[in-house]
Every structure is written in structure tokens, then in C-alpha cells.
Chain length 210, copies 2
Amino acid sequence: MSSVSADDDGHEPITRMKSRDRRELILEAATGVFGDYGYVGATTDQVARAAGVSQPYVVRMFGSKEKLFLEVLRRALDALLSTFRTVLAENSRTELPRYFGRAYVDLLNDRGLLLSLMHAFVLGSDPVIGRAAREGFLEVYEFMRNEAGFGPEQTREFLAGGMLINTMVGLRMSDEFDTNETVRELLTIALPEKLDLLLHLGKTQRPTSK
Amino acid sequence: MSSVSADDDGHEPITRMKSRDRRELILEAATGVFGDYGYVGATTDQVARAAGVSQPYVVRMFGSKEKLFLEVLRRALDALLSTFRTVLAENSRTELPRYFGRAYVDLLNDRGLLLSLMHAFVLGSDPVIGRAAREGFLEVYEFMRNEAGFGPEQTREFLAGGMLINTMVGLRMSDEFDTNETVRELLTIALPEKLDLLLHLGKTQRPTSK
DNA sequence: CTACTAAGTAATCATTCGATTACCTCTTAA
DNA sequence: TTAAGAGGTAATCGAATGATTACTTAGTAG
């Protein structure tokens, strides 16, 4: 969730914002909340609170919870792809996989981003979200094959590694890092360098109440 | 979901069963439903209908939706591990990875089994389900390392490949197989042989109403 | 037979949640 | 200065859902 004023509770001088800016704020908050609870599990009220606005405002601004999630998904994919494109532009072709890997793990800094993606990837049965999720995954696949010039097996390896990382994150496996030897082993294996990054995201904050 | 009398609607001579058997039936139905809609998205009523019993009966038999899901998760893990143990016992150590891979994909025959696992793996933030899911994943990891004798990198590769397959299934990517060239490419790459199996599971049946 | 137990349901309740409505109040252009 | 539009909320609604309660009825042991 937003690192600044996580619990934007109370009624501090809610400064009026241009709706574009407010929209941005809400999308960031929503990314965090959807990442933590999933599409179905998250409530528009949680998003509203995290963004410091009222629940009806969230719904009205995006039309529906579903449309809000679709925007979150879209933004997450854009962030992922644009990150990769930057990496692609700044590095030589050799060693590219390693750099992509690093960049991917770096995306964990944007709390909720990869988690929201992950949640979308499991919603294949949903008529509208499922379609969007499939198309999103395919975009990434096509980027690898066509833009980055990865071969089939190289692509498979990369995507598979990414899904393993996603799973570790989705499971909040890092929460158990210093209490469980096996977890340490697993995470060390699963994360290509950058283990420290995962660990310093802070233990998953658990809002006790919805 | 159950292949026989999928929609056990109406009030056909509901033969009374020993509760052990009924329990089994409900667990199978629940595996399918949870696989399709996820823990939060699935309703106890959907499970009940799929099992051909009333909703209160489902809740009473398992205590709560949460406990029901935990049992589904437990069974899925047991099925996975016992399958692997069988493979392990029947084959020589060399070529083991390939056989595990096949066995894993074969598990797709048990509709909902891998999907339910996948759904659990994304619930890390849930206090009780998250813990169970982490422990479950660790069981699989430890099996690979200790029982199957996989090395670290070999284990990583295997788990990563598994997560990629899970993602393809969760996304219902195969639904698009014959309408999208890229999907064909992706699935061919992602699935080590056994592609046909994934394709013949039947297009995800979509009950239009909950 | 009969009475008891286990299998199973109908009815209904309390909550939760997304959405809608009706309203308020800043900001700003003329 | 003021009207109007944009930013924003309080109140509330209806549907969905997990759970509970109070029953009914099929087996089955004696």
C-alpha cells in the first residue's frame, strides 16, 4: 500500500484535487489492496480508505469495481513492459536475461504491482477479467519473443522463473525467512540475486480489520 | 467437477449415503468449484449444488467454508505428493525430472486439483490459509530436495516449470488454442509434451449463473 | 414393529458489499 | 461577486452469502 500516510484516516484538511491526480492516487491504492486481497477479496471500501476518499467516490470514478481492477491490471502491465523496454534499450543483447531478471525483481518495490498481476493470472474463468489477463500475459510473451529476441526455450525459462517468483511473493514466503531454515533455502534458490530486496519490503502489513 | 450428472438438480431419489461417502463427494465437488472460482469467489452454495446436497449440509459437515477449503488443499497436496512418490518408486533416478513433469501434467485430469492449489498459493496474506499454503509448498519443496534427491538448481527449474503450467491453466489459456496462433506457440513451449492432455480437458465449462 | 440415530433440508438471519441517490462545498471564470 | 461546474460525501438500498436453527425422514438395531 502507499508508503506515505498508510492509514489516511480521520478528516484532515482533505485538499481538493484535480480528478486526474485523485485518480492516480486511487489507482496506486487499489494496486496495493488488490495485491493483498485479490480481485474478489478486496473491497472498494478498502481501496477508498487506502486512498483517503469515500467509497462511493471510488465506484463513481471508475464505474465499477471490475473496471477499476482492469485499469490496475493495465497499469501493471504497462509498468512491466516499459521497464523491460528500458532495460532492453540500455543493455547489450548478451546478458539480457540476467538484467531482465533483476528488473523484474526490482518491480517488487512497487508494492502490489506483481501481486495484482498474479491475482489476475488466476482469474481465467472470469469472462471479462480472464480475457484481459490472457491478453496481458501474451503481450509479455510477445515482447520476449519479438522485441527482446528470446528463443522459445529461453522465453520459457524466463517466464517460468518469473512465475516462481510470483508464487513466492503471493505466498508471502519471505515472512517466514528468519524463522524457517527451509524457507531460507527455497528463497535463496528461487530468487536470482536480489533476495535482500524481497526481504526488505517489510513484513506483509496485516490490517486486522477490513 | 463431477463428470456424472453434473447438474444434480431436481429432487431425484436422493439416496441416503454414509456421511463418509457424502463427504468424499462434497470434497470432490468443492475441489472443482474452488478451482474455478477461487476460495473467496466460490460459494458454499455452488459447492452444495455441484455435490447434489443442500448448502447448510456442506457448512455443517465441515464447520465453515474456510475449513472446507483447508481440506481441499490438504487433499490436493496429498494427491500431488503421493503421485510423485509413486513415480519415484517406479522409475530409475535418471530421467526422473521428465517423469515428474509428465505426472504433474497428468494431475490436470483431476479437474480443479492444481487450480485449487494455485488459488491457495496466492492467498499468502490470509492468516490461516496463507500459513497452510506456505507449509504445503514447502512440503513439495522438501520432497524434491530430500526424497527425490534433486539438487537446488534442478529443484528450482522443476518448481518454476510447474508454476508456469499452473499459470497457463489458471489463465485458461487453452481456451484460446485454436483461435490464436501465439497461444499455440506459448502453450507448445510451456508444456513439456502432454499438450494434448491440456487441450482435451474440455473448454472451461462456464455456468452462466452462480 | 418400533424407537432411536444418522442423514439431510427448509427457512431464515445477520452481515457485507457494490452501487445509487441526493446532497454539500470548494474553486474559478466572467 | 457570483453562478456554475467539478470534487466529494453521507445515507441508504438490494442482493448475495455464510451460518444457524429447527425440523423431517430414512435406515437399522433390538
